[in-house]
């Protein structure tokens, strides 16, 4: 891929623009709360778009296009069953407790609801994970630009890190959120035309479908048996593993996304954030997955396009998106497409760094190192943490380029830690008898159950390190879904049993933290601003999409 001066011009305009946003926002940042939680004053359309953009990193965009080519339109399950129901749940049922408790972070909610040890467990694993994901995101950025444009790995990593550092250092969370909104529009305007052009080239939707096996253009029709579809999953694993455990675990408890809703200007805005975000979320598969599906059809036509190959001869699906761009975008739009990718890498990094900041400053530093300092001190700590967070991410990116195995191992461990989380929150928010000892024991047991499931089963030669193999899964995706199901169930059971054996927390200490002891303020707003009607409209739209692409 060769760039013309106009492409570099667009990329530089974007860099100049994000730095300007940081500089403009800086004037509004005077307290630690402005810097770390946006002072709870962001309008709902902005928090909603940031809510999905925070998850729409470049690896996601490239990976979804790759999965489109590999698994077909079934990949949309990751958006439809695997995100929207959880987004509705967090908005309608959980946000009253997150927002109403006045907690500044998800770990802080755990402290208010349970106890200090549960908070520290969550805060430490979350902090390590954010630095890790931000490093992985930079590593992927360096690799991609090296492969496609022959830029130096160090130059792209350091340049993007420097820009992220400047704008998050200046404007904190607000600046990160504003740039996520811009990134969202860049992705939509940069990749929707690609989807349209590729599908048109294959002869429209029906032309595309006629060139592919039927399983590639259906979402549910081939899920009765795992052997019938390329994902190797069956309907129960899909709905319970992906649709319930993994998706609720991510969208309802991951501070990176929940933080966007908590920055909203009112309770009603916080609750509507994930609900409004569900509409664009439902439509994203048409922008990020469909080009991959169409690329496969395109490779069956005699046009000279084929899915690139890896060194070992297998298809390299991860290159689908960039090769499509090279085939369909002339200089100009090519620059915009690359800018959109660059923007999603950078905002992925910025999102992680700002979440890391908040958890470090409020949950670990203020909670354990210096408790009663003036606010200006915490603002200073937040700013210094930004520099540390970016530096750690750069270090992680270099570690990833030298020790790939360590990275795979860490990713696996984080998966084990995350899998049981949703059981803890579900019990914490809806069962007032759940106790701190119960939650802590449940989380540890759930993580152990996840590790044990992985150690005792095999899929694509992964797992089975405990010696015995009790079951072999048709795909590692199915294995992941089942690990999540076992981890969740174990955490749920252990939390219930240990809670019943330990002393209950006084009801007076649970006000605004648990269902039944929380007053949800009645806001006098028209029906289309109330959570329940908006959620029903989302459900109806989701049902229509699933039926049309059944």
């Amino acid at each position: 891929m060769r760039l013309a001066p106009v492409d570099y011009l667009i990329l530089s305009l974007y860099f100049a623009f994000v730095l300007c946003i940081g500089w403009i926002v800086k004037r509004k940042v005077t307290t630690s709360s402005d810097f770390l939680t946006s002072g709870r004053s962001v309008p709902v359309w902005i928090t909603s778009l940031a809510f999905i953009a925070a998850n729409l990193g470049a690896q996601e965009v490239i990976g979804m296009c790759a999965s489109g080519a590999k698994y077909g339109i079934m990949t949309a399950h990751f958006y439809w069953i695997g995100a929207v129901p959880a987004m509705l749940f967090v908005g309608v049922f959980m946000m009253p407790f997150y927002y109403g408790s006045r907690a500044r972070s998800v770990p802080e909610y755990l402290k208010l609801r349970f106890d200090e040890k549960t908070r520290v467990l969550n805060a430490v694993t979350f902090a390590v994970m954010t630095v890790f994901s931000s490093g992985i995101s930079m590593y992927a950025l360096g690799l991609l630009f090296q492969l496609v444009l022959h830029w130096s790995f160090t130059a792209s990593v350091l340049l993007s890190a420097a820009i992220v550092l400047v704008y998050t250092f200046l404007g904190g969370l607000t600046s990160a959120i504003y740039n996520e909104v811009l990134q969202f529009f860049l992705i939509v305007l940069g990749f929707a035309p690609l989807a349209i052009f590729v599908v048109m080239k294959t002869g429209g939707w029906s032309g595309m479908a006629s060139r592919l096996p039927a399983v590639m253009t259906h979402t549910w029709a081939y899920t009765a048996k795992a052997s019938e579809n390329p994902m190797g999953v069956e309907v129960f694993g899909l709905v319970a593993g992906l649709g319930f455990v993994l998706s609720f675990g991510y969208w309802c408890t991951d501070f990176l996304v929940v933080q966007r809703a908590m920055a909203a200007e009112s309770m009603s805005a916080a609750r509507r954030t994930p609900l409004i975000a569900a509409f664009p979320k439902m439509l994203m598969p048409f922008i990020v997955i469909v080009p991959g599906v169409a690329a496969l059809a395109l490779s069956h036509m005699a046009l000279g396009y084929s899915i690139p190959l890896k060194a070992d001869g297998g298809p390299d699906y991860d290159q689908t998106l960039t090769t499509l761009m090279a085939q369909f975008y002339p200089s100009g739009m090519l620059g915009l497409g690359l800018t959109a990718l660059m923007a999603s890498f950078m905002s992925g990094m910025a999102g992680n760094v700002t979440a890391f900041n908040t958890v470090w400053t409020y949950d670990l530093y203020q909670g354990h190192i210096r408790k009663h300092a003036p606010d200006s001190h915490y603002l200073w700590v937040g700013r210094v943490t930004t520099i540390v967070g970016v530096a750690l991410s750069v270090a992680t990116a270099y570690m990833a380029s030298h020790f790939n195995n360590i990275m795979d191992f860490l990713q696996l461990v984080f998966g084990f830690v995350n899998a049981p989380l949703f059981a803890t929150f579900l019990l914490g928010m809806f069962w007032k008898r759940a106790t701190g000892h119960g939650a802590f024991a449940g989380l540890l047991a759930g993580t152990a159950a996840a590790a044990a499931t992985h150690g005792l089963t095999l899929a694509e030669n992964k797992g089975g390190w405990l010696g015995a193999t009790l079951h072999t899964f048709p795909s590692s995706m199915a294995q992941n879904f089942w690990i999540a199901i076992f981890a969740w169930s174990t955490c749920f059971l252990v939390t219930v049993v240990v809670s019943l054996m330990s002393a209950p927390k006084a009801e007076s200490a649970l006000h605004n933290l648990v269902y039944g002891l929380t007053d949800i303020p009645h806001e006098d707003v028209p029906w289309y601003k109330r959570p329940a009607p908006v959620a029903l409209i989302v459900v109806a739209a989701l049902a229509v999409l699933n039926v049309v692409f059944w």
Binding site: F185, L189, F197, A326, F328, P330, G332
Partner: protein
């Protein structure tokens, strides 16, 4: 917050103008193109940016 609408609108008007001008003047073609991609996409971005600016202007009035 009309601020952000102004910034985003301004950004896309500028980029849209640059991309459509590229389409008009250079008319670059990628291997599988069947139309002037830069012109169509540039004009779409120009319209999107203008709508954002109009929304911000309407709110500020």
């Amino acid at each position: 917050m009309s601020d952000l609408r102004v910034s985003i609108g301004g950004f896309f008007v500028l980029v849209g103008a640059i991309v459509s001008a590229t389409g008009l003047i250079a008319d670059y073609r990628a291997p599988l193109d069947f139309a002037n991609v830069d012109l169509y996409c540039g004009v779409s971005m120009l319209i999107f940016g203008a709508v954002m600016l109009w929304l911000a202007w309407r709110k500020a009035r």
